[in-house]
Symmetry: C2
Subunit: 156 residues, 2 copies
DNA sequence: GTATTATTGAAAATGGTCTCCATTTACAAT
DNA sequence: ATTGTAAATGGAGACCATTTTCAATAATAC
């Protein structure tokens, strides 16, 4: 059988242990759900997926684990304005899979986009550099979201 | 006495009425607080400031008014991760006062910055244009936040 | 004025998230 | 393998920002 997932899992778990946290079955299951999904999962979404496999993992643990993971930087926490937090893997030591969001104000649909125009990356770096210098602020991360109307809603 | 605020207020109220909403004393007071503050106010902050002047304005009305104002685009609603929404005037028909945020992960301090480097504005425009075309998405607004450590917290 | 309709406040409901604490578990040292 | 200990757990309930409900009131159109 292929060991396809071994690497990713290994890395996640390694990073996790490296930070002094213990690997438990619940945490493993949560990491597993996160790493297999490309959606923006809420705590309850994750709980719903984990629970069938590990009925002994409670919602509280999901929240706690997500908090730890976000603190370590392994996942990102988003707010899309629907009253619940959303989570996704930061994915990869090299920042692969990084993306921004388009959010439809009408139907609340969320579109991920990863295909930055070349200058966008360049400019972001410059902006970060400028801000770091000007405000003496060490930037570790950023959030960029565009709001408006998606193609479906713009027609109405 | 100067009528400095007359214009802004007039514009706000005009826009408000133009959308079919009634002008009430409570709404006036809320608009007043918003237009005189340069902070990121929570619903309760606003309530606390409005209540002394208009004891008959309840928290419910503050929430409802903020919702209407945000819907019309007169104010922006932010989430800085502290569990309560923050509001501020979109300020002006020409988008003046627009700014982005630096958020300290440690002390939660929030720094506004308005002094975009020229390229940043340019890039945003290009990015918006590109996204609009590619995803057929009508962009009306954006949110940009940088996370990290402020000068005080970086020392520790 | 009067009718019409939006707006209101108070109280209660909602719902996501966190706290508490007795119990269980991971894991390093034996 | 066994054990000691601190970390991790989950279930119930607390918490608290935000919404809903509904009867009373106020703003506009006529």
């Amino acid at each position: 059988m292929p060991r396809r997932e071994r690497r990713g899992q290994g890395w996640l778990q390694g990073k996790f242990k490296g930070c002094g946290y213990r690997i438990t079955s619940g945490r493993e299951a949560i990491l597993d759900v996160l790493s297999k999904s490309d959606k923006h999962l809420s705590a309850e979404d994750i709980y719903m997926q984990v629970h069938p496999k590990c009925p002994n993992v409670g919602l509280t643990t999901v929240y706690r684990t997500l908090d730890v993971l976000a603190g370590v930087g392994l996942i990102f926490k988003f707010d899309f304005g629907d009253g619940r937090a959303r989570f996704e893997l930061a994915q990869g030591p090299k920042g692969a899979h990084h993306h921004h969001h388009l959010i439809c104000n009408n139907c609340k649909r969320i579109i991920d986009y990863t295909d930055f125009i070349d200058e966008e990356v360049e400019l972001l770096n410059q902006t970060e550099k400028g801000l770091t210098k000007k405000y003496d602020f060490k930037i570790t991360n950023h959030l960029i979201q565009f709001y408006g109307l998606c193609s479906d809603c713009v027609k109405k």
